[in-house]
């Protein structure tokens, strides 16, 4: 009889343990902080990697947001276009050619130089994603 009672108590405890609310998923503060930063600038991780490259090599003419309003833009004829409004941004292959071979290789003014020997292929990848993100954001 005592054994039976013990079994009942044990079962009851098990039941209580089973009913306990599952613990909430643990926080991931590092990832959250990095994601929040990405959300703030509206970029995914891969896109955000292009930002420092753009800021260093491109923004002085193209402007911080790619609108063609960099501090050096007024010295250029023709001036850099607002590429966020351009349809060609959707064509990653074309954008890659402009960056790697320079605008002159595509029959346009020579003012946007070829970066293919200066940037690594990886940096060009990041840059394309970042420029496309700027165009999407407008």
């Amino acid at each position: 009889m005592r054994n039976a009672r013990r079994v009942v108590v044990l079962l009851a405890l098990c039941a209580v343990a089973a009913c306990r609310r599952p613990s909430p998923p643990a926080a991931e503060p590092v990832i959250d902080a990095l994601k929040a930063e990405e959300r703030e600038v509206g970029l995914t991780y891969a896109e955000s990697l292009g930002r420092p490259v753009f800021a260093h090599y491109c923004a002085t003419c193209h402007g911080d947001a790619g609108k063609g309003d960099g501090q050096n833009a007024s010295n250029l004829t023709p001036p850099p276009p607002d590429f966020t409004a351009s349809k060609v941004m959707a064509d990653a292959g074309y954008v890659r050619r402009v960056i790697v071979e320079g605008s002159a290789a595509l029959g346009r003014s020579p003012l946007s130089p070829p970066w293919g020997r200066t940037l690594t292929p990886q940096q060009v990848d990041y840059l394309i994603l970042y420029c496309q993100a700027l165009a999407k954001k407008k």
């Binding site: 590092v30 902080a33 990095l34 420092p52 260093h56 003419c61 050096n72 020579p110 940096q123």
Partner: protein, 675 residues
């Protein structure tokens, strides 16, 4: 004869049951293995393969079957990820569904799967062959599940030890933050050996600062200066009082000739002009704008005593031997005007009259302040004679990422137990982990703390074979000697310029080859009155007020020592025909977009109007051939110019603004002046 024993019926039954049971278990295991997740994935892959590849390619392709693995004996890893990730290094599967999709970017060209496996970068359990146990997501008892992309650059840091790792910008940003925040003063950090960080020496602090400013500063440096590099030590009021008394009692050297200054004759307008001319804002910010090498000066009038400021401007190295600030050659009147301007312009209000430095002495408070100074490790950043340095106060961060996450505390953060989260919480709230901490609070934003975490999370106790480590060896320290050495020390050239790998990086090109780059006479003129070579650069070389003799000494030394024969002896023809061709190329390449020639051109690169007087021909040719070799992060693109083009452009540039008696260039030097 014994009668053969017949087992009882119950034994038969047991045998039968066991037999059936055995068969069932056997079939269960067999069928389970036959239907394993990876076999299903491989079957799925075969169907996709047929749709992606044509029959010929299919015949060429290696057959898929069985467990595939990459064994890296030197890293002690076995990665079976490619058992399911079958298209990972085949560009044909760019659009295939996971797990078959091609790896993004060009990562596998630089890090082929056969040499690096997968978990070296991605973490997770490489030996597992099903989704869950490979720890694609965090699972219990697995310390290192796969890293999400947000923190994956931590893995880059395990092998790539250089401060700047271009393809891992977040890692580089974290490492820069570590250097700039002075973490190396208190912690040994692998990869940061030899880097130092220091605040001002405190030997004469009693003569330097106003007591009320010091109290506010000790309570919370960020309240006085939002960009302060010093953290908040969370001092109790009695600790603040003790430290204040201790620091004010430090009076090793009385300021130079403070009493003899005639303040009534000070001209703050002249001081303001001098402030601009000396380019103080290249290093010091005022009202939020300017450099970060020196302290922000926005409230310097609240902080320092008049007499000390005069003495410091006269000779900064007397009071602060390790300061990055140069010693200008100024007259006493100029120093007085500048000091008067700083004290009047940059203060928050009337700070009241200065009290005499001698009136702060209280033996008990001084003793307790000294105790606090030592206990909190103030000596880590601030030199003070009489306080010996017992070693770094913080623990070494070697292997900080290897600590067992379940042995660490996480305070009330509720964070999942990972060493990443521990580092992050510790950075933001040193005291928030259950036990009091000596580490100051630096006021990092969450994003900054997370970025530093990424940089620290790759610090494994390294049993990495040397062949895997990618690191630039640090150069031996460079210290110029003789008269040139004196001038370099006085004008603190190495605060901004780099020679032989030593020095700051505020300036353009390392000076190692400056003698092959610049013409001697130009260098002398420039040192006497440095103008802006690049219009858009904010941090400019200060006007030192150096003597012509000093300028010549520096130019002579540079032109003799800092030269590179491969540049100087380059065969560059500088004749009119070449120059004309160069001018055409200059136009075709669009150089004018960034460079000014005459009145036309962009602000990005140097003004080229007087190149013929400024640069040497060999340098121009070397630079144009491969700019990044001379300065890795220069924005000048490598155009991949042919040798004839380089010669032509060099000839053209040498013709710009050239004077007939130019040294170095052969042949007639002014064929096409700028049109």
């Amino acid at each position: 004869m014994r009668k053969p024993q017949v087992a009882p019926a119950s034994a038969h039954a047991a045998f039968a049951v066991l037999g059936v049971l055995f068969l069932a278990v056997f079939s269960w295991v067999y069928l389970g293995e036959q239907g394993a997740e990876w076999r299903q994935q491989q079957a799925k892959f075969r169907r996709i393969e047929a749709s992606v590849k044509n029959p010929h390619q299919l015949a060429q392709a290696a057959g898929v079957g069985g467990i595939r693995q990459v064994w890296l004996p030197d890293l002690g890893r076995v990665d079976r990820c490619t058992t399911c990730h079958l298209g990972i290094d085949d560009a044909a599967y760019v659009k295939a569904p996971q797990p078959f999709r091609t790896h993004g970017g060009t990562w596998l060209t630089t890090h082929p799967v056969e040499r690096f496996g997968c978990t070296v970068c991605h973490e997770g359990q490489g030996q597992a062959t099903d989704y869950r146990n490979a720890a694609h997501r965090a699972i219990p008892f697995v310390e290192r599940p796969m890293r999400p992309l947000e923190t994956i650059e931590a893995s880059c840091g395990s092998c790539h030890g250089s401060l700047e790792t271009p393809d891992a910008p977040r890692l580089s940003a974290g490492r820069r933050l570590i250097v700039d925040s002075g973490c190396v003063s208190c912690h040994d950090i692998p990869g940061f050996e030899g880097l130092t960080f220091s605040g001002p020496a405190l030997d004469s602090e009693g003569y330097k600062v106003r007591p009320e400013w010091l109290t506010a500063w000790l309570k919370d440096p960020k309240s006085s200066l939002s960009r302060s590099k010093m953290g908040n030590f969370r001092l109790k009021p009695d600790e603040v009082a003790g430290l204040q008394a201790f620091l004010l009692s430090q009076r090793a050297q009385a300021p130079l000739a403070g009493a003899s200054v005639d303040w009534a004759r000070a001209d703050t307008d002249k001081g303001r002009a001098l402030f601009g001319e000396l380019r103080c804002t290249s290093c010091h910010a005022v009202n939020g704008r300017g450099g970060t090498m020196g302290p922000e000066l926005t409230k310097v009038g609240d902080k320092v005593r008049r007499d000390w400021l005069i003495g410091f401007l006269e000779d900064p190295h007397r009071d602060q031997p390790d300061t990055a600030m140069l010693r200008y050659r100024l007259t006493d009147d100029q120093v007085r005007d500048l000091a008067a301007f700083l004290l009047q312009e940059y203060r928050s209000g009337d700070a009241g009259p200065e009290t005499s430095p001698a009136s702060f002495q209280d033996a008990a408070a001084v003793a307790s302040g000294r105790g606090t100074f030592i206990k909190r490790g103030c000596y880590s950043c601030h030199r003070l004679s009489g306080v010996s340095i017992p070693g770094k106060i913080g623990p070494s961060l070697a292997g900080v990422a290897d600590r067992d996450p379940d042995q660490l505390t996480y305070g009330t953060s509720g964070a999942r137990h990972t060493s990443d989260n521990y580092i992050y919480v510790k950075l933001l709230q040193p005291d928030g982990l259950g036990s009091p901490s000596l580490m100051p609070t630096f006021g990092f934003t969450p994003a900054e703390a997370a970025t530093i975490t990424v940089a620290l999370a790759g610090l494994h106790k390294s049993d990495l074979p040397a062949s895997r480590v990618v690191r630039q060896p640090s150069p031996p320290p460079y210290r110029p000697q003789g008269r040139f050495g004196e001038l370099v020390t006085r004008y603190r050239c190495l605060s901004c310029h780099r020679i032989n790998g030593t020095g700051g990086d505020l300036s353009t090109v390392p000076l190692d080859r400056i003698g092959s780059q610049l013409q001697h006479d130009y260098l002398v003129t420039y040192l006497l009155n440095p103008g802006a070579v690049r219009v858009s650069v904010e941090a400019r070389m200060p006007v030192f007020h150096m003597t012509p003799e000093e300028a010549r000494t520096i130019a002579d030394y540079a032109s003799t020592v800092f030269v590179d024969d491969t540049i100087d002896r380059l065969d560059v023809r500088v004749d009119a025909a070449e120059a004309r061709r160069g001018q055409d190329r200059f136009r075709e390449l669009g150089c004018v977009g960034c460079h000014q020639v005459g009145l036309k051109g962009g602000y990005v690169g140097p003004d080229l109007s007087n190149t013929g007087r400024r640069l040497k021909a060999g340098w121009i040719a070397t630079w144009l051939t491969d700019p990044q070799r001379q300065k890795p992060d220069t924005i000048q693109p490598n155009y991949g110019l042919s040798a004839p083009d380089v010669r032509a452009l060099t000839a053209y540039l040498m013709s710009l603004g050239a004077v007939p008696a130019t040294t170095g260039s052969r042949a007639d030097a002014k064929p096409g002046s700028p049109r």
